[in-house]
């Protein structure tokens, strides 16, 4: 009977909750609205709806280059952090080794620390190792920082895994390698897809770490950032609206998968920051 027992009417609380929702959504609504405003950002009320800013956006070469860069980095980061996150989750679930507690904390650290700390540490490492700043270093940064997300998600999936299936497979003579490919991995499929989508979204949006690891080629958020410093135009509203639409679409897909796989792993992740 969860959530129904002390249900009396609470009109004041309902109004308050509505206001909080308004606070959360108002900026996003304003942003979208003004992406269709002929007279630019600001002024009230918005008049003369237009699609000009979107037309301008689609003709904007450098911006789409940065989108491509972001996609490259994000895909690389997904592959890297999923591979290492899977192994890390398996290690945390099944192996015991000296320094395991430290390892667990270290992996999760980028999730908890402000991005600037992780970004700067990696910058010092890159300079120390004599590497050039480029999209490659951004990819390394994203991939490494997001192992935390992959590990948490996949670990939650492993906890729900039925060990008996693996035992049966091994007892019936399959090699550990075969058991991994035929039993463990297929069972983790949904966790892997959910984690991948989440990492993709986070990487596409990452600024704090990217800020310090960027070479000459901009990622999308940093390209927008650079333009913001020069002044604001509704073209930025237009691209932001598109980013918002894509994020929402990805979230819906992510959530559907999440509901089918492990339930509330995302909350677990946020419950213990």
């Amino acid at each position: 009977m969860r959530g129904t027992s002390p249900t009396r009417r609470a009109p004041l609380l309902a109004i308050y909750a509505t206001l909080v929702f308004a606070f959360i959504y108002l900026p996003i609504v304003v942003l979208i609205l003004y992406s269709f405003n002929r007279d630019g950002v600001g002024g009230f009320p918005p008049r003369q709806l237009t699609l000009d800013w979107y037309r301008q956006l689609f003709a904007d070469g450098p911006l789409w280059d940065s989108v491509l860069n972001s996609l490259l980095v994000a895909c690389g980061a997904v592959a890297l952090s999923l591979a290492l996150g899977l192994l890390a989750a398996l290690a945390l679930d099944r192996a015991s080794f000296p320094g395991k507690a430290l390892f667990r904390r270290l992996v999760l650290l980028p999730l908890i620390l402000p991005g600037i700390i992780t970004g700067l540490s990696l910058l010092m490492f890159v300079v120390f190792a004599g590497m050039q700043l480029s999209l490659l270093t951004v990819f390394l940064g994203h991939g490494t920082a997001l192992i935390s997300v992959a590990t948490t998600e996949i670990f939650a999936g492993l906890q729900k895994l039925d060990r008996a299936q693996e035992e049966a497979s091994l007892d019936l003579g399959a090699t550990p390698w075969r058991t991994f490919w035929r039993i463990t991995l297929p069972n983790l499929r949904l966790s892997l897809i959910a984690a991948g989508l989440l990492i993709f979204t986070l990487s596409m949006d990452e600024i704090a770490v990217t800020f310090f690891l960027l070479g000459r080629d901009n990622t999308l958020p940093l390209e927008i950032w650079a333009r913001l410093r020069r002044g604001i135009t509704p073209e930025i509203n237009a691209i932001s609206t598109l980013i918002f639409a894509v994020s929402v679409a990805l979230i819906i897909v992510w959530y559907r998968i999440r509901m089918r796989s492990v339930g509330s792993g995302a909350q677990q992740l946020l419950e213990r920051p």
């Binding site: 969860r2 959530g3 996003i28 996150g85 010092m124 490492f125 927008i224 913001l228």
Partner: protein
Amino acid sequence: MYSRTYKTIVAAPPLLWVGLFLLLPYTLMFAHSFWAVQDGTLVHHWNLANYQKLFTNPLYAGVLFRTMRIAASVTLCSLLLGYPLAYYLSFHSGTRKELLYQLVIVPLWVSYLVRGYAWKTILGSDGVLNGFLQYFHFTHAPVGFLLYSPFAVVLMLTHIYTPFVFLPIYASIEHIPRSLVEASQDLGAGPAPTFFRVILPLSMPGLLAGATFAFVLSLGDFLAPLLVGGSSGTMIANIVQTLFGASYDWPLGAAISVCILVITLSLLFLTERLEKRWSFK
């Protein structure tokens, strides 16, 4: 059940990777904070001068203090918005609970930059809010203090962290056995005593987790001040960022970063302790 080889194959790559790309960089940051810059180049002279500068120069202490104040305000505001929302959803939203929950989640994954930018367009002197105020003749000249102030930073960060704070609080309120709430009411406690003596203490772990999250992430934020803070909204991470960029004093920047790191980790340690004390078994 798993062989030694299996465990080694599984554990070795992430251990090596994390050692090389996380532990080593964090250690390098720590080492840098004890080094120095001479004639524009980094020299590996071990010394404590950076920390000395940090604790004696009132500029750094002042900005650090302001940063803590902003982070505390953000935490408080997010709690004031997030807690009642979580309480409402858990106890009073009835059949719309699932939908409303999703509505809180959606902005959580929407671009930080997009949301920050939205506030910039709203608060500016030619912004939407000023246009609105003048259109309805609340003011005749644009109100200037909205953007480029600590207020704007607190507003923007509160907007970003309210859903983050909401989530763990909601989860812990949902986990409170409803029988306890009923027992309290059956025994004659009114709504207020039931809230303060049953619900609030039992939701403390979630509240602490959310508060820590908001505080720690605000503490290290340098983008919100750049976007909407102006010079009066400068925070400690902005100083670090300048030291690593234009001013080229990595050791001092590293020392400040280590300070942020120490504050963060001790806070996490503390709240983890507190959460264990409060958690309901």
